[in-house]
């Protein structure tokens, strides 16, 4: 701890850093930040910075609203030019992720980082380390004006080679900036829908990855806005084309050994791996309100757009909720599962904590894995699905909240504070939505009724 602190202070001094941004995340996954000067940094590292949490979603409590933001010195990073600096100044700016603490120094129950940390610690107590690698999809639009239909920048489609087109240029600059920040990108490509792009990250431990996702969202948006473009992680911004998902690959290691891998198995998948998948599937409906937390998230989870709608798994079937990619020959360490429901507008800290908890529960209780979904699930009738014992994912935020509310696993993993606040906040969102008369209804009903 001492030398990390020393490293941060020394670097700030040597590099002439003028401002340090303290980053943290509210319960809904919205990035929050305030800046401090180098003079305040030493105290912030030792004692944390006090601020009024009542204005932050999910931080408010009845009696006491002050909390502490305590920088995690491991995450200290000087930001590349242009990131985190609206005024375009060239002086050095750094960021550091914070844990939120109560004034007495104990972890604050509303802090999403704390929720994930606690879940990871439970896994570590059993010898496991949990890794995540997301595929983040998003759109570029001409502007972010909420009153208009969003305008895509291009008409490109999957893997299309578009010459000198603005959005590909933006994606390229984003990737380079991320690499400069030590965030290796596995692939970046144009996706199916117009102006839709995807950035796949190389795996890291789940806590680092959740921090990284927050960083990526910011970098994508800022680089777009420098060029007067608006980048959006909204799950389904355009009807009639694919939405944006955040398929995430997960693996579990015990030391150097991949827990999901078994050379003796035909598909290289271990028994523990099967139990883990069974656990995630068993609890999938309960955690969907978190992996897909907006009214709009459920406009993505519909048939016909490669998004999962049934609780199912398969080795190579992209309609399934969990896909188990076949590990490359001789690389058993790459065995992993791909969870395909989350969208890039979720809170990654909470989502990862829940997937891990569900999987571990499956391993603990030895849940039996249902048979692999062999056919294209989208083509089956409801009767056929029922006879195969395949359950649907929740169809709306209201459905998802109802299932989540009864989940012991979710309550235990999120903790009472986050669990209660989340349900209350999301119910209010659903209530507000049901009161709205939408353009769809006007165009559909007004002319004829």
């Amino acid at each position: 701890m001492q030398s990390q602190r020393e490293y941060v202070l020394r670097t700030v001094e040597e590099r002439g850093v003028r401002f340090v941004q303290l980053w943290f995340t509210d319960v809904l996954g919205t990035p929050k930040s305030f800046s401090i000067t180098p003079a305040e940094l030493e105290n912030a590292l030792d004692e944390g910075m006090t601020f009024d949490g009542s204005a932050i979603d999910g931080f408010s409590r009845v009696q006491e609203s002050d909390v502490l933001a305590k920088p995690d010195p491991k995450t200290f990073q000087i930001l590349p030019l242009g990131v985190g600096r609206q005024d375009g100044s060239v002086s050095s700016v750094a960021r550091v992720f914070c844990d939120i603490l109560n004034l007495d120094g104990s972890p604050f129950e509303g802090c999403p980082r704390h929720v994930l940390r606690r879940a990871l610690e439970r896994a570590r107590a059993r010898g496991f380390a949990f890794y995540a690698a997301p595929e983040i999809e998003y759109f570029y639009f001409a502007d972010g004006d909420g009153s208009l239909t969003p305008k895509p920048l291009d008409g490109g489609s999957y893997f299309e080679l578009t010459v000198a087109d603005l959005s590909s240029d933006l994606r390229k600059r984003t990737v380079l900036t991320l690499e400069d920040m030590g965030i290796p990108v596995e692939y970046a490509q144009h996706e199916d829908a117009p102006s839709q792009h995807e950035i796949d990250l190389r795996y890291t431990d789940a806590l680092t990855m959740a921090d990284t996702i927050m960083t990526v969202r910011l970098v994508v948006k800022e680089i777009a806005s420098e060029r007067g473009v608006y980048a959006s992680f909204m799950p389904k911004p355009l009807s009639g084309v694919q939405g944006s998902g955040m398929h995430t690959h997960f693996s579990l290691f015990e030391g150097e050994k991949n827990v999901f891998s078994d050379d003796g198995d035909e598909h290289g998948l271990s028994t523990l791996g099967r139990h883990f998948i069974a656990g995630v599937l068993e609890h999938a409906p309960e955690i969907t309100a978190v992996t897909n937390q907006w009214v709009n998230s459920y406009k993505r989870l519909v048939a016909g757009y490669e998004a999962p709608i049934y609780v199912s798994w398969a080795y190579n079937n992209r309609s399934a909720l969990i896909r188990v990619p076949i590990a490359k020959k001789g690389r058993p360490e790459s065995t992993r599962i791909e969870y395909r429901s989350p969208d890039p507008a979720c809170n990654p800290y909470l989502a990862f904590a829940l997937v891990l908890a569900a999987g571990l529960r499956g391993m603990e209780k030895g849940y039996e894995l249902q048979p692999e979904a062999s056919s294209n699930l989208f083509l089956l009738t409801p009767e056929e699905l029922a006879s195969e014992g395949i359950r649907p994912l929740p169809k709306s935020l209201a459905d998802a909240l109802q299932v989540m509310e009864r989940s012991e696993l979710v309550a235990e993993t999120l903790g009472e504070h986050v669990f209660e606040w989340f349900l209350r906040n999301k119910r209010a969102e659903w209530e507000a939505y049901t009161r709205e008369v939408t353009p769809y209804e006007i165009s559909r009903y007004l002319p004829s009724l």
């Binding site: 701890m1 001492q2 030398s3 990390q4 020393e6 490293y7 941060v8 020394r10 670097t11 040597e14 590099r15 010195p73 491991k74 995450t75 200290f76 990073q77 000087i78 590349p80 990871l120 610690e121 570590r124 380390a129 890794y131 690499e179 400069d180 920040m181 030590g182 965030i183 290796p184 190389r202 795996y203 890291t204 431990d205 806590l207 680092t208 290691f253 015990e254 030391g255 150097e256």
Partner: protein
Amino acid sequence: MEPLAVFPDPPSRWLSRALASAGYPYEPVAGAAEVERCEPAEGWAGAVVEMGTDGAGISLCRALRKREEQVSPVLVAVTDDQLAELDFDEGLFDDFVLVGSAALEVEARLAQLFRRLRRGTEHEIIQYGPLALNLATYQAALDGRPLDLTYMEYELLRFLAAHPGKVFTREALLQRVWGYEYFGGARTVDVHVRRLRAKLGEEHAHLIETVRSVGYRFGSVRWLPEGRVSDWQS
């Protein structure tokens, strides 16, 4: 003169005799906590640590290095069969002496260390081709351009660059660099190597080489001394 911190408490008979005959004042300490508690107002003059076999010795060395007020010099006493392991822990002490060495040798080594460290106030620099690490300021530069590293990236690069040409397993790196205080497990090493390579950029990413099914190696063994950097580059 301020006393030396001596570990363990009590030190072996061999060591207490050697120190007594060398005439240095010393204070036995049982661990890192006592180093803090019993520290004289002017700070310790240095430390002598008997490595022992249970790992407590090397943990103490690590704790000494992590302190804000560094204790130096640190002299470690090891047995014959511990000599091979010393390479790995190089950064954690300033010199070593074999358990059982003559009292005069212990005295000479301490005297030598005091002389060297009093005088040597220049910053220590590790240089390898285009890469330079300033250990005093924690700054790394590539072709003179500063690298923006996180703490663990810096620590990993420093460790690797201090042992060019040597292959380390993930476990070894995890133990030497992280000290196991981390969530990630052994895969963490891969993650950080990738992050470092991304920051080194395509041109220099190869400085850290993957040695298949073993681990990682930084640079090559046949690295030439500093004066010949330009030869090597051409």
